[in-house]
Symmetry: C2
Subunit: 520 residues, 2 copies
């Protein structure tokens, strides 16, 4: 993973000429004056942890698993939001941990949390490091004796598979591609393919309520979690004896989405599926976003629901974002829908869904657009790096709401972005559908001004306020982190905030876990 960008440097993508021209002509993007900092130039705070505390950490995990080198600290600084990358490119490593600790077992995690609570060391749980909401930047670090990144990479095992119950027990540090590889040996899959797929970990998916591109078919990640173990500074919580229960509140759902603020997930029992015998992805064109949206709603409410269902609005379709290879080459016009069917009986479901789509004015475009989308499904973050280098800020944000409220939400977010950024390019697609509503996923491109972080933060603040005001949820699958904190507080209200604080205090009385994240 690039420390100041996304993914494998070998996969970096040069911007096509037509895109560069488009950026210049349309958005006034100009190459930035200063080049990006080199890794060794990143400015880090001095290590606050004393030798004695570093020794105590090593006492739990072993000396070789406490890292304090420059590169290790840089690579555990912040996540992968655009402001995160802009700061790193500017050489600002101010949020770096003092040390990176690598526990090798649940007991070591529990031991670390106990130690850190006792010694008031802030702990930032670190999986794939792909947070895009500021979930890895601790706040108020001067209140602590130091900050450690608790990197879960050594907890990388598939511990058992129960094919009768279709459950797999994983450690939390397993990266998504490894999980798929390990399950494939059993003919199984999770079917969880978010854009962060190549780097994100299972524990991170759970802690941040991830949702994948095929979640219509395989469910959100939170749907897959049948059981889990949470290590906290004050003890261990083990949950999940049955698919569903009436034994009180579903405490699993309190851990899911807790973003490392209540504890560290040390094991996950996940529902798995048979690896699909067949896959078929297709494109459809709709005359307008409203018509395509109605068709998507019909599939969600009456079925059959494809495993992948994504509908781009007119602008996103025009720009061609569903197929990053073809960006700027002009889309099919109208609104592009991608439908994907997976499993054993693709054809009858495809036929029934196609009939519904046609009834709502959809025009089939065949497998070409579907395959192009599938080919490029994880490319967008690579493209962002090139755009940042070219002087454009590109960032994504997302929300969800009930169907009848979706047009209001769509307008509110667009208006907020236009108001805050002048004339950005705003693209949108429906990324996930449910019977009662859907999520809207926005991509924004704007020319960087002299203070691109502040420029984006103004826009983000305006959008957050607009989403809350328009009745949407502040995030459908990115999480709260620090970037959504204030809006989240408005969303759940003072009683909701009080509940979170009570739980936090009961599990983490010293407040060392991911301080500043999640709890408004």
């Amino acid at each position: 993973m690039l420390w100041s960008g996304w993914g494998d440097p070998a996969k970096a993508r040069e911007l096509p000429d037509q895109v560069k021209k488009l950026l210049g002509d349309l958005l006034g993007v100009r190459a930035p004056v200063a080049p990006a900092a080199a890794l060794e130039e990143v400015r880090l705070p001095p290590i606050a942890l004393t030798e004695a505390l570093l020794g105590a950490l090593a006492g739990v995990v072993g000396e070789q698993h406490v890292l304090t080198g420059h590169e290790d600290r840089v690579r555990h600084t912040r996540g992968k939001s655009t402001p995160d990358l802009l700061r790193m490119r500017a050489g600002d490593g101010g949020d770096a941990p003092d040390a990176v600790v690598l526990p090798g077992s649940h007991d070591e995690v529990a031991g670390l949390l106990e130690l850190c609570s006792r010694e008031r060391i802030a702990v930032v749980p670190f999986g794939g490091g792909t947070s895009v909401v500021g979930g890895l930047a601790p706040s108020g670090r001067d209140r602590f004796a130091g900050v450690v990144a608790l990197d879960l990479r050594r907890l990388d095992r598939l511990r058992s598979v129960d094919t009768e119950s279709m459950l797999a027990d994983f450690e939390p540090g397993v990266r998504a591609p490894d999980a798929e590889r390990l399950l494939a040996a059993h003919g199984l899959t999770l079917g969880h393919f978010p854009q962060s797929f190549e780097y994100a970990t299972l524990g991170g998916f759970a802690a941040a309520r991830s949702s994948g591109q095929a979640s219509a078919g395989y469910g959100r990640f939170d749907d897959m979690v049948a059981g889990l173990t949470l290590a906290t500074p004050t003890g261990t919580l083990e949950l999940g004896r049955a698919p569903k229960s009436a034994a009180g509140p579903d405490l699993r759902q309190l851990v899911l989405g807790s973003e490392g603020a209540f504890g560290v997930i040390t094991s996950l029992r996940l529902r798995v599926r048979r690896a699909p015998a067949e896959r078929r992805y297709e494109g459809w064109r709709f005359p307008a976003f409203a018509a395509g949206s109605a068709a998507a709603r019909a599939l969600a409410q009456e079925g059959p629901l494809p495993a992948v269902l994504r509908l781009s609005d007119e602008t996103e379709t025009m720009v061609g974002l569903a197929d990053p290879e073809a960006i700027g080459s002009g889309g099919p016009g109208g609104c592009l829908m991608i439908t994907g069917y997976e499993g054993a009986d693709v054809e009858p479901r495809r036929a029934r869904a196609s009939a519904v789509l046609a009834r709502y004015g959809g025009e089939p475009l065949g497998e070409g657009p579907g395959q192009a989308w599938e080919h490029g499904r994880f490319s967008a973050p690579y493209l962002r790096d090139s755009l940042l280098a070219a002087g454009a800020t590109v960032e994504t944000l997302e929300t969800a709401g009930f169907w009848s409220n979706l047009p209001r939400l769509y307008d509110a977010v667009r208006l907020a972005l236009l108001g805050a950024l002048g004339s950005p390019l705003v693209l949108c697609h429906i990324s996930h559908v449910y019977e009662t509503g859907a999520s809207l996923y926005f991509t924004v491109v704007v020319a960087q001004d002299g203070e691109p972080v502040a420029q984006w933060e103004r826009a983000k603040e305006a959008v957050n306020a607009a989403v809350v005001e328009a009745g949407g949820t502040i995030t459908h699958h990115h999480g709260v982190g620090r970037d959504h904190l204030q809006a989240y507080g408005r969303e759940i209200g003072p009683v909701g905030v009080r509940i979170l604080r009570a739980v936090k205090e009961s599990l983490d009385p010293e407040g060392v876990l991911n301080p500043g994240v999640l709890i408004p």
Copy 2:
């Protein structure tokens, strides 16, 4: 509703002669010596609430909505578990509230909770009064200035319907048949049909995580709750802006299952479905429970899943419990499965499911057994009254687990019952199936000894311990109440209990809400 039994007295069912004979011959059941008490004979505790406090309650809801009459108090005493009924039949009204209050709005509920918290009056939220786990019997009442039953019957409106989002906003006191009637006017249904259907309320379904007989098709009640309002002594919580969210823990799932211990649900936004165009219920015979269970598992994991799927074990099939009209007449032998299909395209789903069932050794029995089951689906509680009168204790209990653990769970519960009760009749069916597991629903019949409540409590305690020990959840759809409290504590462990206490203390610092229920 009968105060000491179930349902409409006009629907009371005399036991068929062959059942009486069976009970006598097989279980040694003899008619009890003492006849059941009459309503006016029920012994109630003196009213502890002072005139001043009764006046303060009246100040919130109006004088006509504070009831202290003998019959009102008797009718709000406990729920409908067999021990509850045995106590009522014995004239024991010791758990009666001092008064019944009937709020007419969210604001009145909030006002009552504030008052009761300030004056330390225990509050037992009361919907349909159908709890079978001791959810309506407050404990430690001498710590309070009195106990009120907060009856939600006046909050009985369907407030709005959003057919685009397929959502309906209800008040919590709406009884299930009324909800169906109100929705039918819009061509809609909830599809929620638990055995308590005729009397239970929507708020109660939510507070106790109800699951219905058609939950395989329509989802559990907790799946239907898109939004809710919770009045607490310290403020109001409003949740639900989208079908799903990554905005922190799903706090809806903390309210669902909270059994009135965190607050009172004052509104529910529920996902609705189109009323089914067609319904078809059928019977299948399997040679053994294991074979039928494997078939049910195949439908849950590979589809298509019928809306209703129920598999009786050999004993339940023999007794004929799936068709209460035919009890004792001898079932079809083997294990009876009921499958029900509902919706617009019954036939293709039925055909595909039938092929799966046949592959697992199922033999189709046609619509006869399905119709008989449908006809008698709400009859069992009526039958219980007749059995109690005849001198038999009959009670149900249920659990759930993952598929691979189900045989262990089945054996453990049966063994515990045999150990505690000598030679009871133990019937079981799989009542709800999921991809990863299923629930087991047991019916127990035994001759009453001289102390039938204590007799049953011993059995229940043995089963609770066995369920926890065997790795199941202590309840799949009945709730925790008081009867599962200790086992629930073992299920979620000390950290889980600490979380519940922290939430409770934050919302209900005086502990007036349903004391003794839910929180171990």
